[in-house]
């Protein structure tokens, strides 16, 4: 027997759905379906698509490699200033992305805190490079992964780790064979969230990495540049972005929320 719902609740839910769906429907309706293949096979479009996929996947890999250990330390270790560290980790969530790009320049630009040594000693210039794009995307995506994984680690029954230790497992083995499989669903959800954020990243990318086709012009940047020239091209690219994201999110089937769809 379903819980009865106040009628106002259902009405508001429908308004909410309409609010989100109408702009997307508008986009699909104004899309130049007849010219899609033509608009999307330009070198710039194909470059943007390839670049977006490659950089977002690499950025997601980085967030996993760096984010899981950080989440583990935040969940399993008590130390002074832990609240501060967690606050810092969450800052990219509230920072306007362009400001994020500015801060990345301050650290890794040619005259940046760390960047100046990279440039002066090794000739490495992160701005205007594809590596810079990956960094910008990883920067904004990392908090999503850390929050999700930290939450899962806290909720997990820590006696599983105790049991593994009494059976002789080293800390590494405990982490890989017991902890990781137990938090796997959350880890996947966090990674997908991080990937989605990385894919849609614009402000930090354009500010830190710049905008050049094939090197740093990801799909969102291509859309913005296209807007100056041709609305049709911008819409076509947006539809592609929309399509990829929608496909992935639907395939998760609600697992993001800890359910089974």
């Amino acid at each position: 027997m379903r819980t009865p719902a106040p009628r106002l609740l259902i009405a508001l839910a429908m308004v909410a759905f309409a609010f989100l769906a109408l702009p997307l429907i508008g986009l699909l309706l104004s899309a130049p379906w007849g010219q899609m293949t033509e608009l999307l096979s330009t070198p710039a479009a194909r470059d943007a698509l390839r670049l977006s996929l490659v950089t977002s996947l690499m950025a997601t890999a980085i967030t996993i490699v760096l984010g899981v250990p950080l989440a583990w330390v935040l969940a399993r270790r008590e130390f002074r200033g832990r609240a501060l560290v967690r606050g810092l980790v969450l800052i990219p969530l509230v920072l306007p992305p362009v400001v994020g790009g500015v801060t990345l320049l301050a650290a890794f630009g040619r005259r940046g805190l760390v960047g100046q040594y990279l440039y002066d000693w090794f000739g490495i210039q992160l701005p205007f490079s594809t590596a810079g794009v990956v960094m910008a995307e990883a920067f904004v995506a990392l908090p999503f992964l850390v929050i999700t994984v930290e939450g899962a680690l806290r909720v997990m029954d820590i006696r599983f780790e105790d049991a593994a230790r009494t059976l002789g497992a080293s800390p590494t083995r405990v982490l890989l064979r017991v902890t990781a499989p137990l938090i796997a669903p959350s880890l996947v959800a966090g990674a997908v969230l991080a990937w989605a954020r990385a894919l849609g990243e614009f402000g930090a990318t354009i500010t830190f990495a710049g905008n050049f086709p094939g090197v740093t012009q990801t799909l969102p940047l291509a859309v913005y540049s296209a807007l100056e020239v041709s609305r049709e091209e911008a819409i076509a690219l947006s539809v592609v972005l929309l399509g990829i994201s929608f496909a992935v999110l639907v395939s998760l089937r609600g697992r993001l929320l800890g359910g089974r769809g």
Binding site: D162, G168, V178
Partner: protein, 347 residues
């Protein structure tokens, strides 16, 4: 010695100070009320909890020594641990669970098959923990702990997660399995039946301290603390004895047949030994009181009648007797107890 542990540690704001030993082949029950610190003692021996002060030796190896700064991490201690509600890895089959220990330490897997057969769980080998009943999970947890060939087995409330009927059956089989285990076993429990059935020796822990330590039969017959006496269903009085007369510290007198006891003693009285009468009883009972009923409660097919002291007694009678004597709170009644039914032990 399978284990010789002198432990002083803190759990929250609670201090624990015990000295526990267990010989190879021996099963020791750590009995005590909830929150007494028993599980913490076990976790400290296993290395899952830190020692403030003390020394722990397992099979002759020093694993903890606060004075010398030694602390061997849990994964190197070769201690088998069975957790309350078993904590089986849900993402592994029964066989993988049991094999986890040998796989982690590079031990050969022969122990796995041996214990699967010994515990009769071969037909469960490919199932997941979620598909097991309570009794089956308990056996898998035991097999998992034993498959690593540990030098000491620790069990934390091994039967608490089972329903009453399963518990009886599993307790019996557990005794049999523990008899085969050649090293020492320490079982933490709050159920006196576990201690009585499974243990060779009982160590009573109350408020982080050991209050009694001895062979099972002796501890059961001669509880030294109110907690244990109550647990075993016996009433306990403290007092000082002289020529068979015991002056109780809470007031009142008991006359026992043992005239040699002297000094501080503990007197035990079984509720069943007290008879109740409407009129002053005739007969040989040396202990007779005219007292008032303060409360009545049912315990299975017996009724416990609480009597005002001093000394405050508890009598066990049948429901028929309650009706016949018209017993009710506030009613006056005569109680008698034979001197031979008062057992006296030095405190």
């Amino acid at each position: 010695m399978s284990v010789d542990a002198r432990i002083r540690t803190t759990v929250g704001s609670f201090e624990i100070d015990v000295h526990l030993t267990c010989a190879p082949g021996e099963t020791v029950a750590l009995l005590g009320p909830n929150g007494a610190g028993k599980s913490s003692v076990l976790r400290t021996i296993a290395g899952l909890h830190g020692l403030d002060q003390g020394r722990i030796e397992i099979a002759g190896n020093v694993v903890d020594d606060s004075a010398a700064g030694i602390h061997l991490p849990a994964e190197r201690r070769r201690v088998g641990f069975v957790f309350q509600d078993y904590v089986l890895f849900p993402h592994m089959t029964v066989r993988q669970n049991i094999g986890f220990g040998p796989r982690s330490t590079g031990l050969d897997a022969s122990g796995v098959d041996h214990w699967i057969d010994a515990l009769g769980i071969a037909d469960l080998a490919d199932r997941r923990p979620s598909e097991l009943s309570g009794g089956q999970a308990q056996r898998v947890a035991l097999a998992r702990a034993l498959a690593t060939d540990p030098q000491l087995l620790l069990m934390d409330e091994p039967l608490a997660a089972l329903d009453a009927a399963t518990r009886i059956e599993v307790r019996g089989r557990l005794r049999h399995h523990l008899a085969e285990f050649r090293q020492g076993t320490v079982i933490v429990t709050h159920d006196p039946l576990d201690a009585l059935v499974l243990a060779d020796r009982v160590v009573v822990v109350e408020n982080g301290r050991i209050t009694q330590d001895g062979p099972t039969a002796q501890v059961a017959a001669e509880p030294r603390t109110e907690y244990l006496a109550a647990l075993l269903g016996v009433t306990l009085f403290r007092g000082s004895a002289a020529s068979g007369t015991i002056a109780c510290v809470d007031g009142g007198t008991l006359i026992a047949s043992d005239t040699h006891a002297a000094g501080d003693v503990v007197a035990l009285v079984r509720p069943q030994a007290i008879s109740l009468h409407r009129e002053r009883p005739e007969g040989s009972a040396r202990n007779t009181w005219h007292t008032t009923v303060t409360g009545i409660d049912a315990h299975g097919d017996q009724v416990r009648v609480h009597l005002a002291g001093p000394p405050a007694l508890v009598a066990a009678v049948t429901p028929a007797a309650v009706a016949e004597l018209r017993l009710a709170p506030g009613e006056k009644v005569w109680a008698s107890l034979k001197a031979t039914d008062v057992s006296v032990h030095p405190a």
